[in-house]
Symmetry: C2
Subunit: 349 residues, 2 copies
Amino acid sequence: MDLNERKLKILQAIIHDFVTTAEPVGSRTLSKKYELGVSPATIRNEMSDLEDMGYLTHPHTSAGRVPSQKAYRLYVNDLMSKYEIPQAEKNAIADELYSNITELDQTIEHAAKILSDITNLTSFAMTPKKDQDVLKFINLLPVDEKTIVLMIVSESGKVSNMTLKLRQGYDEESLSVLSKNMTYAYKGKTISEALTLDIVDTVHNDVSAMNTLKNSVMPSFMKTLEDMLNVNLYMDGLTNIFSIPEYNDIDRAKMFMELIDKKEDFTKTLIQRDDGLLITIGTENDDESMKECSMITATYHVDGKLVGKLGVIGPTRMKYSEISSVIEFLTDNLSNAYRLTGGDDDDDY
Amino acid sequence: MDLNERKLKILQAIIHDFVTTAEPVGSRTLSKKYELGVSPATIRNEMSDLEDMGYLTHPHTSAGRVPSQKAYRLYVNDLMSKYEIPQAEKNAIADELYSNITELDQTIEHAAKILSDITNLTSFAMTPKKDQDVLKFINLLPVDEKTIVLMIVSESGKVSNMTLKLRQGYDEESLSVLSKNMTYAYKGKTISEALTLDIVDTVHNDVSAMNTLKNSVMPSFMKTLEDMLNVNLYMDGLTNIFSIPEYNDIDRAKMFMELIDKKEDFTKTLIQRDDGLLITIGTENDDESMKECSMITATYHVDGKLVGKLGVIGPTRMKYSEISSVIEFLTDNLSNAYRLTGGDDDDDY
DNA sequence: TGTTAGCACTCACTTAATCAGAGTGCTAAC
DNA sequence: GTTAGCACTCTGATTAAGTGAGTGCTAACA
């Protein structure tokens, strides 16, 4: 029994119908709605074959057929045609995306919102991993008697700072020298590298006062570096799931919410995913609680290097083609906006 | 018909029972569970009176009674005794709160988590309003040829910055002078005041190069000031509502989620609330979609000045006494931790 | 040999009916 | 004023019957 053209056509029709209606699709409906050129009886025979081959399932004897995970995978790999976003919609999305492009984080958050609005699913967007971000300089600024501000600037334009309360006073001269020493020691290192550097060897000096100062500053410096590595995860469209028939059951809705609510776990899952456009269906997801969900993600780049992710999660029944296109369009635009300069230019779209 | 002592006792028992069981409470249950010293029949008569007076309602003829909003208000105002948190629990909460006290934002987020864990409700915590925060100094730092970092430090220890890409180069001398001028002009002003200052009058100079520089910097400066005014709202325990009988219905759950999901509106509602411990029950909440919820909030202070808020939202049936105590305990501890120094001391608890 | 019409059969879902249980409200006695 | 007794009400659970969408098989047809 092979997957001839008619079977594929029928399977595609079933997927299309089920994705839009969320109802198991029967042979009569199929023959009425789609131009298949054969009678319901014939379709029934083919459907029966498709079920034997594992592409369809049967909720119960007298219900229509539902595509299996295997069917979706076949569809995504071979059957699905690339969805071309209408130019008008492209413009609308781009306008919306660029309407508020100041800080990277805000833009990313905004992108998630746009994505959930378009797809009516739950969307998420992760700020870039910064482990490969390169340190540019370190500055220690006097604030008052016992307070200084530690500031770390990286190549990507990211500025992190921390206010430090010292146990004792300091002199500005030492502060300035320490800044220079630290910059000298860490400049050009990635954050990951900086975190593993042995401090004692790199920032050395003899003056005792400065040594004290250094000792107060270093732990905060390390802490700030660690903070810089944290990625932010923005989510949007959480309430969209209440409009999805699959989650009309309170227990399922709860399970979904709990999955989403554990942001840290979810971020980890996200980080581990391969780069590029990636569609995972049902049990293809590692996470047990996601075995009835599908996830589509894509990566965007900042300065052509740092990598962030963007995507949606929903029931396996989703419009893979449309959604993939939208996600790719968004990541392309993000990468473009943050190509070199950091996104303050508004003349490159 | 007056609210004699027995009526109050019965009302209190009904509230207590309903708050814990979520089931309408009948006269027999009441007489069995509570030492009221009278028969169910008598209780029935009193209940009937209480209903006439508007303190109880009747879901249907043959159901038990349910406290009305008026009853909860009476309870909160007059009947409720102050709940003393057991010392062991106090210690546990304090330990948990102080276990991770670095940045204010993180602590606030953590406080929300603690609160939702204890109350099994949805909690929220707002970072302080910064409009009364006073500017301390402004710094412009050279990064590279056409890039500078704008940095604003305020009295509260808050440091904000923005990376600026200039259209043309600059010289460090001008940058330094401009920093000093701006600091001179804005130091001691609150953020609100700074935003209304007329720039032209305050930062004046003749050198054309510097003028250009100033013109590039000022919009970003204003933007950064505005950003500083934004408060963050952290929420936690969203999925808790799925365990609450009142929200066992998918539509109610959805309504609740949508209410919560509109973070901006919710933040506004929160900002408008009076300071101090505040309990609003049902229709006492301005928001239409909250007319079946109660909200308890309290304020904490940073440096004895800046004001943030913390609280829970849930069904009108909640443990007002316990929850109020926990919220007060948390805000007291927060205010204490950020009394003067900014929370880096870990020796004041 | 593939396709189709016809028909019996299955199963979920809906509506109606019955029943048990919890609770009230009234009355009359204490 | 309090209480026991009892009829009455209403909900929620359970059961039964009916409906309809859909399948799967068989036999006829091209």
